[in-house]
């Protein structure tokens, strides 16, 4: 195999997945661009954004990989109604990991910004936003990942090839959308403007 062949094979195989996640990333960017009011109202929120987005990818990407491995091994039936014990445990663990990492990101950002003497919203506000955004996007992403992996598997597609692009695309969009929802909710309830 020449360098040219190796390069064109790698290029062709990666382009569709990258293009799909590009669309998701752009949509997330537009929502973030429209969130300037909220970002000003909650100092420190922008600092948490990369961590929250990455958590979605890290946690739900690995959930998708686990489910697709379990499907390949025949440990999980590709039916949501089955109420499979193993499936429920995997989703619950992913939600718990996601919430813990989101809360940790909020606490760490608050601690570092306070130490640096930078302006930062009160800790309960940041944590409430991170937790709410984590719950909303976690439930939505679990549903999308499980449904898509099952549907792909039943149609004879390899779910492993589906999970990566799917999670990066929907993870960004849901991550930012539910972050916006969570900020508005917390600002409305707390009246912290």
């Amino acid at each position: 195999m020449s360098v040219r062949d190796a390069a064109s094979e790698a290029y062709r195989e990666a382009l569709p997945a990258l293009s799909a996640s590009l669309v998701g990333g752009l949509l997330a960017g537009v929502v973030l661009g429209g969130m300037r009011g909220e970002l000003r109202a909650v100092p420190g929120l922008l600092v948490v954004v990369p961590a929250l987005l990455a958590t979605r990818g890290n946690v739900y990407g690995s959930l998708g990989a686990r489910i697709s491995t379990a499907l390949h091994q025949g440990l999980v039936e590709p039916r949501i109604r089955a109420g499979d014990e193993r499936l429920r445990a995997a989703v619950a663990a992913a939600l718990a990991n996601g919430l813990l990492a989101s809360t940790f990101a909020a606490v760490a950002a608050f601690a570092i910004l306070t130490t640096l003497g930078a302006p930062v919203a009160p800790l309960p506000v940041l944590v409430a936003i991170a937790v709410l955004a984590g719950v909303f996007s976690g439930v939505a992403l679990s549903a999308v990942v499980v449904t898509a992996v099952f549907a792909g598997f039943r149609r004879g597609r390899d779910p492993d090839a589906l999970v990566g692009p799917l999670v990066t695309t929907t993870g960004d969009v849901f991550g930012v959308l539910f972050l916006l929802g969570a900020v508005r909710l917390v600002l409305a309830v707390g009246g912290v403007v």
Partner: protein, 172 residues
Amino acid sequence: MLPVLLVLTLVEVGSGLVLGRFEAQLLRFPSLLALIPVTIGSAGNLGSILAARLSTALHLGTLSFDPTDDRLGGNAIATVALALTLFPAVGVGAWGLTALTGGTRLSPATVVTIAVASGLVLAVLAVVVTVTVTYIAYRLELDPDDVVIPVVTNVCDVLGVVVLVGTAQVVL
């Protein structure tokens, strides 16, 4: 899983601090804000796809860490070519969608220049980081699939933020 997740989260908070440092500028130019998720995501994806391919080739024994190795060179070239294909679209998309939804202060040429320059730098960095981390995992006899992909994805995420903000300082 959890300790790794928390370390990675802390690394991502580090990149958030970089964003926070330039918050005033980002809030002034919404097209820059719109570039953030897509640049982070594309940088992470370029790295993770390359890492997955190198790991598989390593498992199959078809890869050697020799600068003249065809597979290594081919994958590196493909990563740069992918960045040069995608990032012009990233720039046009970020400017166009921002213009549609609320107006931008930067010209389309400026936004596309920032996107393409960031993409090119990020592609080169993604290759360097991925090859280095894969090589270290290989020498330490760790399974590259377990270690390399999460590390590379998150390092590339952070580099995405740093390079984007840095490029904006040079261009603006």
